[in-house]
Subunit: 250 residues, 2 copies
């Protein structure tokens, strides 16, 4: 398959390199990724500023294109301008740090895959539950399997897959669970500080809330050392509420 | 009610001022809004940089706080730090330009209301289908009515309301429709240009696709001069796909 590979940690991250090396043995891969880390950008797109594209080499060989924008920009520009013909699939990752629960709405990794889906290309987001691991074997093995499944079955229009992999050696992964988006979230607070000129500023801090998540959720699967696969979409309508609101407004 | 008012067009926009003037006759309003326009930032939050807060005056009187961040940052900081006790409701708008269909995923206006909902506060997003109008009467009238309904009934946890108002005089509005998120979207392309130093750059262009949207969609209601109210949520799980994936992976 022709794979468009992107991420939100930036083109120089270990996660995208590991996935590139695994994918390029079986597929034709083009990398278009942000030049700099773009964590927590959500589904931002750049409209007010121009986008610049730079070729990036690794070990003396062409690796991909670095973009002065967000993950969603990378996918939009790659599909509409840089790749011709377009990709058969968009893969975003491997992100350092899980993208589960409510935090999915802040995720640049997921937004890149969402943008692919909006533009009609089957798309996957892949994250690993560690900020420091260098062992991506469990993740890359599974993504190769999943690519085969997507190639065989296709994905329905508007649906993408959000994959999260526990940060354990390949042999310690207990299997794959199909999950729903759980309720995991950060517990935010702000550090209130004073700058050298006596002005107040705030800095976001926070720790991951680790509620006991149900086994059928993304975070619940990870906690039990399963890979989680969550099918998501971007129709945000809360259908059950339609009739309630009609009564309010009658 | 104690209202937290924010937007994504920035604290100096006409839309937020019109809504402020209407709300403050009946409610206690605090404005915390981005210092600069933040369109298409999606659900970005600022983690790598500090946030600064400035007091803004209008007509010699205190108007609100301008934040060096995104709409979601405004809501997070206001609820966790600046308002004590916290707000009874978050209102985001009035945005210049409709937020309907697929474009909702790029919307800073909607993301501010989503952030309020994540933090447990009932929240509304309000947009008007014009980039230039100065007539906000239909929108402000309806938002006052809707605030009363939310005060009376409450909103279920995790559900917010995305309101879009046609840009017509109050008397030309034909009513209110409860709608689902439709399929309206931008048709993107990029302008490929050469800078004064012979480097290539790209700039996002695009026009709104105006498919014939069904009457029960957000864009369909607007096109018929109805106000649309779409209940949305941030559980992105595509539930129908869970069983399909389980079969793939069996």
């Amino acid at each position: 398959m022709r794979v468009l590979l992107t991420n939100d940690d930036g083109i120089f991250s270990k996660g995208i390199e590991a996935l590139y090396l695994a994918l390029q043995e079986q597929h034709e891969v083009m990398v278009v990724a942000p030049e700099t880390e773009q964590s927590a950008v959500g589904h931002a797109i750049t409209m007010m500023d121009p986008l610049r594209v730079k070729e990036v080499n690794r070990n003396g060989a062409f690796f991909g294109y670095a973009l002065s924008g967000t993950p969603a920009d990378c996918v939009k520009l790659a599909i509409t301008e840089l790749m011709n013909p377009g990709p058969d699939i968009v893969v975003s990752g491997i992100n350092m740090g899980a993208n589960v629960g409510v935090n999915v709405i802040y995720s640049g990794t997921v937004s890149a895959a969402t943008e692919g889906t909006v533009l009609g290309v089957p798309s996957l987001a892949v994250s690993i539950e560690s900020f420091t691991t260098t062992d991506f074997a469990a993740a890359t093995d599974f993504i190769l399997v999943l690519l085969g499944l997507v190639q065989k079955h296709g994905l329905p229009p508007g649906v993408l897959l959000n994959v999260n992999v526990p940060a354990v050696p390949r042999d310690a992964v207990r299997g794959v669970r199909v999950t729903r988006q759980g309720d995991a979230r950060f517990l935010d607070h702000y550090d209130r500080r004073v700058d050298p000129r006596d002005h107040i500023y705030y800095w976001l801090c926070g720790s991951t809330a680790s509620p006991d998540e149900a086994p059928d959720t993304d975070a619940g699967a990870l906690a039990a050392n399963f890979i989680s696969v969550t099918p998501i979409h971007y129709d945000l309508t809360h259908y059950a509420m339609l009739d309630v609101l009609k009564k309010w407004l009658a």
